[in-house]
Amino acid sequence: MNLLQAIILRDLRIAYRQGSSAMLGVGFFALVVTMVPLGVGPERDVLLRIAPGILWIGAALSSLISLDRLFHADAEDGSLDLLLSLPLPLELVVLAKTIAHWISSILPLILISPFLAMMLGLPADAIGGLAIALLIGSPAFSLLGAIGAALTINTRRGGLLLTILVLPLYIPTLIFGVQSVGAGPGAGTDAITANLMLLTAITLISAVLSAWSAAAALRINAN
């Protein structure tokens, strides 16, 4: 447990001291969300309808930016070899790094999402629902992304390949995430709860899948 904590804290410290990466993600997220009203026009009801979708897509895309570095930085400076030789299953190391990634690059997005949702005209209860849905669903982004990051550590232009590998896997999270926001007053609480449960299931499945396959990919790619 201490080792796990140490890995999480180390990654958080690196993210914090490099400073720019978390803020870059937030900036990217805010910019993506800002581009949409400029692209589709500022009509209130159109924005209200698409707001949950914009925020979820924005979060998915922003999570990709920092995923590229998830294992790549460690592979470059050699600390990946140390992580591989820890007296800890590699699967747990992957989970620890994924948790750190989620805290450092996705949690800030969730924190500013209520403001962006307000700007897009979502009503107050939908904003709360959106934040809860993001909290439950977005770990799947980090987890599934870790698979892509582990598969592409040795490839040139890995970041581009990563997006192609990972984005199709994000689709279930995106669909249930957007649906659980309810998109307006029409949806009942039952439907929202059901979608949140499915979202939880997807995150848990992703955790199992990611721990196994990202660890396998790291072992394959380690020199």
Partner: protein, 239 residues
Amino acid sequence: MWKYANPRLFLDLAEKLLPWFAGLTVLLFAVGLYISLIGSPPDYQQGDSVRIMYVHVPAAWMALFCYVFMASASVVGLVWRHALADLAAKSTAPIGACFTFLALFSGSFWGKPMWGDWWVWDARVTSVLILFFLYLGYIALWETIEDHARAARAAAVLAIVGVIMVPIIKFSVDWWETLHQPASVLRFDGPTIHASLLWPLFTMALAFTFFFFTVLLIRMRTEIIQQRIRALRLAAIEE
């Protein structure tokens, strides 16, 4: 299975099987195309455009079959380090991607007269499109990793992750909204389409399957020969 991990024996087997597979493919396509395009009656609602089904449905079946085949070969390659299973998975991907594209393309041509649009964001269409992207990602991963053994194993992990995600993607998209008709052939209470349309469909599906195995054998043979050429070149350089 283990015997044919030896490329020499596999090449011999492929040599023996290929003419049979190719012959069966030609025969089945000849019969299948005749009874589906000329021999079968037009649909009472859709008219002659129902004949698109005889290409569309087998292509869609093969798209899924190829993915499952590719993932199974990946498991065999990853777990037992079976070299030919890796090659089988690698060679399946482009064929599967082509079937997927054919299903989307023919579906688009069927959708225009039936639904009034070239493309609809319907559950099935969308999940097949995502399947197409999964194929592309798999092929791209093979292309970008230079070391063959490493590429094989990394791609195998991706294929296995994909096969777990495919049903999840399918159901998630299913609950989204839908226009495509539900399954009408493989159902518990028997097919809901008439036998006169079913026979041509099955003949075509069989033809597609044999076509797949014929192309697969040719592709695997090419891969083995390519590897051998590469090895010979390297040996020549070292001397």
